[in-house]
Point group: C2
Amino acid sequence: MSSASLGSMVNRGDMPAARRNATATRILDVALRLVQVRGYNAFSYADISAELRITKASLHHHFRTKAELGTALVSGYRRDFLAALDEIDRRGGDAPAKLAAYAALYLQVLRADRMCLCGILAADFETLPKAMRREVTEFFRANEVWLTGIFEHGRLAGTLRFDGDPGLMACVVVSSLEGALLVARSYGGVRSFEAVVKKLLDGLRVRS
Amino acid sequence: MSSASLGSMVNRGDMPAARRNATATRILDVALRLVQVRGYNAFSYADISAELRITKASLHHHFRTKAELGTALVSGYRRDFLAALDEIDRRGGDAPAKLAAYAALYLQVLRADRMCLCGILAADFETLPKAMRREVTEFFRANEVWLTGIFEHGRLAGTLRFDGDPGLMACVVVSSLEGALLVARSYGGVRSFEAVVKKLLDGLRVRS
DNA sequence: GTCTATAGGTGGATAGAC
DNA sequence: GTCTATCCACCTATAGAC
């Protein structure tokens, strides 16, 4: 996963990367950015068409329906995000370091002037096709599973301190980071986001 | 402000309540719910028309444009929310109690199966008319101001413990609660929301 | 794989009768 | 204040030529 991944992340949907051609990839890139900035109901095939100078009919050749495009979008985003989590695990380090790396993924999105794809789709949730809803829910669930593991290991190793269920702590982290991204758009900067991250990590630190 | 306020909140926009007639009020009620559930770009005059059995043309008599309706919506929401904060102040109690009451306002929204109006509009932010953007930003700013006062008083009185700028703590609280609402839609319950609130309040408690 | 052309629907908004 | 009728722009999607 490249360093610009979550902002400019290439999203190949359900299909293995090798089977997607360059055009489909470019369509997904543009669509991803449009949804992350405007939301699912405020972007159209016409927008992509204008940007890539390809007719709407051609877009439908690659993604038959908007629901199909949207589903490919979330599916690929989830895959790439989970790949980033694997990369964090591969690099090693203690639980606090991994949490900091996790927060850095969100900061990357904010710096690209975007919202987390699944965060903005959670706002659009009631209007999404069923397949997309499933993908969004699964994204959050997968994040929660990964974070739960971090919290369990961290407490056992004595590097994290917290009360109660590690799974609930995972909810707390996901919620706080998504909210920090959301509100930062109106605050217009990274300052409030970084304050949330600091407070979150400080609250988990083992006190001397 | 009634107990069902933030969910079923009547929103009278820029105009004093006494100057809005019953029809305008019903329009705002329906529109508020539709936006809180679907977002700004996924509701239409046709939706309101069907629900109230009034033609779209009649709706335009009360609110000339969608932007005008939207602006009245946020403006009224902000006013009612700030009235709820005044009510919290009026009831008295220490800083932790006021923070708990603040969080309860959000829980009320969640229980009505809605998102905070300004939270969902933050997701739609890039697509909003300028007047609406200003209202949303002002909503967050006003919340921040109120919370900053709570943090300043709480630290002075020795009822709250935290490091750094009270204004940043206010950002943290707003962000976390908005995010908890957002993500709770996918988690499908109040459990994750309550975990965030508990963690937030515990982190501020004065330790014995 | 891309195009032109078009279908059928819905969006916000207006004119003018009652 | 509500209605019918209408406008035009935009939406998703398809047929069929190249």
